[in-house]
Structures are given as C-alpha cells and as structure tokens.
C-alpha cells in the first residue's frame, strides 16, 4: 500500500501549489498568507522543514546500486535512505550520542563520533530513524484529517441545514459510533482492515469524525437562521449556493482549527496505538514505546526517547501555533484592526 501514501504526498504538494497560486490571484488570501507569515515565520519554517524531510523520504527510485536493497526489503530507496546509507551506517548495539566506543563493552565503533543521537538496540542511527518518522507522522495527521473533515462537513452541514430526516439519520450514526468505546472500535477496525498506514488512518478517521460533525452541525443550525441567510434567500439564491457562499465560509475557521487540532491529536494518539502494539512501523510512537524499557537501565539510555519526543513535540507545537494564528486571521471578527 506504499503507493497510496505516495498519492497523498502528491496531493498535498498539489494542494500547496494550488493554494499558492490562489493566494497569488486573490487579494484576500494573499493578504492572509502574508499576515500568517508575518506572525509565525518560525513555526511555518519548522513545518516546512518537516514537509521537506517527509518529501525527501517519499521520493524513491531503484538504480543499480540499490537494486539488492530493493529486492531484499521490497522497497525502493528514498533520498533520506541514500543520504544515510542505513545498511552501512549501523553499529552492533547501543551507543551514546557522538560516542567513540559502544555503550556496553567499550568496543570501538565503526563510525566513531558520527551518530549525532547515538544508536538503538539494533545499532540503527537514531537521527535517521527520527527523520524517517516525520513522513509517518505527517501521513497520520494529514491523511486522517483528509478523511475526517470532508465526512464531518458533509454530514454535519447537511444535517444542520436540511434538518428533519437527514438530521435524524446523521444523529443516529453519531450516537451509535459514540456509544462504542473509541479505543475498542479502533482496535476492532484495525483487526478487520489489517495493519498498515492507510488502514490505521481510515480507522482513526472513522472513529474521529463524530466530534467535528457535531460542531459543524451546531454551527450550521445557528447560521441557517442568520439574517444574512434569510437575506440571501430573499435575493433568490439557491440552497447549494447558500451553503457554499454563506455557510461554509462562516465555518471555515472551525475547519482550520479542527484540522490543526485533530492533526496534532492524531499524531499524538498514534503513540498510544504504538503502545498497544497496533501503531505504524517506523513511527515516533514506536520509538517512544521501545524507549520505555531503556529508561529503566542504568546509566539511562535517553537518546532514543529524546529524538522521537523532540521531533514530535516540535511538530505539534508548530502546527498548533500556526492554527492559532490562522484562526485569528481568517475570522475577520477576531482580526485586530490597525495592524
């Protein structure tokens, strides 16, 4: 299923280019983009770096030098793989950051002083593993949000706007889903769908849309009765156009906040899945889970945990900061005047 995640990455890049071009043409969005950059240059740069790393870990090809690797692992090598050459860049077992000798036994390392964050139990470089985790994290957050938001918006807005039977049906679905413990449902779904990036994202999406759907429905209910919607009806605007031009833009800030919050919540919840043993291979969650035992050793082995946690924390913080600024900017009611 590697190709699905490639398509998602491609879509995300296309969306970014599309947004860039749109912002170039539309004064409103151009202004907002500039404003966002002005307020959160650092956070945007951080997310950009993560995206770049994920991108570098997504572009893969097979050539003569990596043919053997591709045959044994079933995967083409990505740019990140090519930079680190993992099969040559390993040690026997643990080694501390920048150490010259192994952690246990004191044998000289194969690559003394080159492992910035040391190596793990199997001697793999921690920096390399951390960088590999960025792609998984972005996939979990991005792909699942891409599953959640359209479903929640479609159901929530149509339930709120049209009411009656549609509302009843959506509410029934939400109530049923909400009455099953989320974790139980997640485990059951992953057992049925199988373990894999897309499967886990779909499982997280299926269990995660209820909350936002409820918000979207409530907001639509409120907006449906708004005077400007009545005014639009009095102008002869179609229902579909009312939803598109008057309802959706007014909940856009909710979508953005939800996207950011659910993005970070999903990245974090993957660590819980990893703890339960149903997380994704190569994720930060898995690294943290493996580091649990290492923390009880003396002297403590902290670099595995540190690498994954710092990467996770930085991404979550940056995305949250961007979301916060975006909300203020996109919603003109909270936008400060005379900036």
């Amino acid at each position: 299923m590697h190709w699905v995640s490639d398509i998602v990455v491609l879509l995300l890049i296309l969306a970014a280019i599309g947004a860039w071009r749109h912002a170039g043409r539309d004064a409103f969005w151009r202004e907002n983009a500039i404003e966002l950059w002005r307020r959160r240059p650092f956070a945007i740069a951080v997310v950009g770096i993560y995206l770049l790393i994920a991108l570098m870990d997504s572009i893969a090809w097979v050539d003569r030098a990596s043919e053997a690797y591709a045959l044994t692992s079933g995967k083409a090598r990505t740019i990140i793989d090519r930079i680190f050459q993992p099969e040559n860049f390993t040690e026997a077992s643990y080694s501390a950051p920048l150490a010259r000798v192994a952690f246990y036994g004191g044998q000289p390392l194969l690559h003394p002083g080159q492992h910035l964050l040391g190596t793990d139990l199997l001697g793999r470089d921690v920096v390399y593993r951390t960088l590999k985790g960025a792609r998984v994290a972005l996939l979990i957050g991005g792909l699942t949000s891409l599953v959640v938001i359209p479903i929640a918006l479609l159901f929530g807005v149509s339930a709120g706007y049209f009411g009656r039977r549609i509302d009843d049906a959506v509410f029934f679905a939400m109530t049923v889903l909400a009455s099953v413990p989320t974790l139980l449902l997640l485990i059951a779904l992953i057992m049925v769908l199988g373990k894999g990036t897309v499967q886990v994202c779909v499982a997280l999406g299926v269990t995660g849309w209820v909350h936002f759907c409820r918000i979207a429905r409530g907001e639509t209910l409120k907006l449906r009765e708004a005077d400007f919607v009545a005014a639009a009806r009095a102008l002869g605007v179609r229902e579909g156009t009312i939803i598109r031009r008057h309802i959706l833009p007014n909940i856009a800030h909710l979508v953005i906040i939800t996207f950011a919050l659910s993005f970070t919540a999903l990245v974090l919840s993957e660590t819980i899945l990893s703890y339960l043993g149903i997380g994704l291979d190569g994720s930060w969650g898995q690294m943290i889970d493996q580091a649990r035992n290492e923390l009880s050793r003396t002297p403590v082995i902290w670099w595995n945990l540190a690498g994954a946690s710092i990467a996770l924390f930085t991404l979550v913080l940056a995305v949250n900061m961007i979301a916060d600024a975006l909300r203020d900017i996109v919603d003109p009611r909270t936008r400060r005047e005379g900036r």
């Binding site: 004064a27 409103f28 708004a226 005077d227 400007f228 009545a230 005014a231 639009a232 009806r233 009095a234 102008l235 002869g236 605007v237 179609r238 031009r245 008057h246 833009p249 007014n250 856009a252 919603d331 003109p332 009611r333």
Partner: protein, 327 residues
C-alpha cells in the same frame, strides 16, 4: 387605476399549534400600484412581517400559506409558481431589505462581493461589468468613496452604511417592488431620516414600488402614499396617507395616532391603548379589537365587522361605520 403591480387577496398563514393550526395572518388583502409606497403599520405580532415574507414565499417552517390565498405580481400568481421561477422573482422582480443591517450581511465576505452575488444571480454580466455596476449602485445609495468600500467587510461599516449596502443589494436588479421590513428600526434617528430619504428618492427616480413595514407613524408620514393598518392578523383600516393620518376611522388607528407624543400635549399624560395585542390563537370573537376599544357596543363581541368604504380610497372594518348594524 390600471391593474396593480402587486395584489394580495385573502392571504392566510398558519402555524401548527397544540390544538390545531394557529392563524397568524388572517385573510389579508392589499394591493400596490406601480411606483406607489404602501406603509403596512401595526404593533409587534400583528402579522405584518409574516405578510411580507408570504409575498416572497419565505414563510419560515413549519408555517404555511393556507390554500385560497392569492398573490398576484405583474400578472403572475406567485403562490403557484415553480421553485426556480419563484427564485427568479426574488431579487429579480421583488427585492427585500431587513430590519437588522448589523446581521443581514455575511461577516466573512466583502460587501462588494455580496452585492456582486446578487447581480450575478440574475444577469449574465462579465466580472468587470458587474463590478462597475456594484460601484454604481453604491454611489446610487449614497455610500461615499464607493470604490474603496467595495472590498470592505461588514464589521468595518457603520449601521447606516450597512443598511445602504442592503438597499444596494436589494436594488441590484432594479426590482419593480421593494419590501422594506422595518428598515430604520435599528438605526439612529439622524441616520433614519437619511435612509428614509434615500428610499423615497430611489422610489421616485427608479419607479420602484415600496412596501414599507413599520410601527412608526413618523416613518409613515415621511414616505407613504397609502397606509394599511394591521391588528391581530387582519387589516383593519386602509387609506391614503392624508386620509388616514388626518381622519382615521377605526378606533385602533385613532388610538395609535393619539399615543404618539406631540409638542402640544407636552406635560400631559400620553394616551395609550389599554391592554396588549392578543396572541395568535387567542383572538377575541367578533371584532378582535373590542376588548381594548373604548367605543365597543353590543354587536362588537359577537359579529365580525366587514370592510366598509368611507371614501373611494379609505375603508375600515368597524361596526361604527357600518350603517346596517344596529346598536
């Protein structure tokens, strides 16, 4: 007089209640000629806004227009039009402006784009043409610095300017009839005068008829050609402005006019109409005004008064005027 632009006949609107449907508008008939301004006056809850919404076929659910009523507009029966045809009438033939300019504009779209939407709905103009039409409209409704205001957001405009934008939006397709539901209630007194003057000018220059819904006789006096007074879901009196303000015939109209503060009654206690408008579903028998009427006599609680003409243009529903009713 030729065929009226708008003629409402026998219009009733009801909402489902605990004990069967409750009528909020009861057999209302009114007509507006081309270019004429009719003021529909009444207290809160008298059904005047609902009448206006029914003309646009926008009665909020679960309310419904009862069969038997007719709304004719430019020779077409609006109540039997298909949904797409009715949509073309809204905004195209009939424009509407609302009471609350503060909340009647979409807060996240620039006002220019909102008026643009109104134009693009009904006419196929190029983007640039539509845009210049918006700016033209903005200057027509007296928005200063129209070009710059195109990109402004509602929260950047004052209440008076917002109401001007609403008027521009409603007038975008040069409708033949403009329905204004208490357009000045939410505005300051000085702004109110300006908006009324604007409505009067627009009506005069474009020949647009105006259905003005208000509870303010000051507004009536300034803009109306004719006046219809509503009480408890019915029209109780109608006539020209001069007739109705000068010589009201229905005790309710008389009471309303007496309860306006005037310079010569300064210092004295203001007359008022005792009691409150009865709630829909609890309307008194006979004449609905009789419990509050100081002139009520024997037939009032029993017999519903019929419309009695007192001049070619003035009529009222009161037993006092009907010679066939014996006290």
């Amino acid at each position: 007089m030729s065929a009226p632009l708008l003629s409402v006949e026998n219009l009733s609107i009801s909402f489902p209640g605990d004990a069967g449907p409750v009528r909020v508008v009861d057999r209302v008939s009114l007509s507006i000629a081309l270019g004429e301004t009719l003021a529909l006056v009444g207290e809160s809850g008298s059904g005047k806004s609902m009448t206006a919404l029914a003309i646009m076929r926008l009665v909020p659910k679960p309310g419904r227009i009862e069969p038997g009523g007719r709304v004719g507009f430019q020779g077409r029966q609006l109540l039997s039009l298909s949904v797409p045809d009715m949509r073309a009438v809204r905004g195209g033939g009939i424009g509407m402006i609302f009471q609350e300019p503060m909340t009647s504009l979409n807060p996240v779209t620039s006002v220019g784009d909102q008026v643009l939407e109104a134009i693009e709905l009904h006419a196929s103009l190029s983007r640039a043409d539509a845009r210049s039409r918006v700016i033209e409209l903005f200057s027509l409704v007296g928005i200063p610095d129209a070009k710059r205001r195109f990109g402004a957001y509602p929260h950047q405009l004052s209440g008076g300017l917002k109401q001007r934008v609403m008027i521009a939006m409603a007038m975008a397709m040069r409708p033949r009839l403009l329905i204004a539901d208490e357009p000045t209630t939410a505005l300051d007194a000085t702004i109110r005068a300006q908006i009324l003057e604007l409505l009067r000018d627009l009506s005069a220059t474009t020949g647009t008829a105006l259905l003005l819904i208000t509870h303010d006789f000051g507004v009536v006096n300034e803009v109306a050609d004719r006046v219809a007074v509503m009480y408890a879901g019915q029209i109780v009196e109608e006539g020209t402005r001069v007739e109705l303000l000068g010589r009201p015939r229905h005790p309710y109209t008389q009471g309303l006019l007496r309860s306006i503060p005037k310079a010569e009654t300064r210092g004295r206690r203001l007359d008022e109409i005792k009691g409150a408008v009865p709630a829909p579903g609890h309307w008194p028998s006979g004449c609905r005004f009789h419990p509050r009427c100081s002139n009520a006599f024997a037939p009032c609680p029993r017999v519903e008064p019929v419309r009695t003409a007192v001049s070619p243009t003035q009529a009222a529903c009161c037993h006092l005027l009907d010679r066939s009713v014996q006290p």
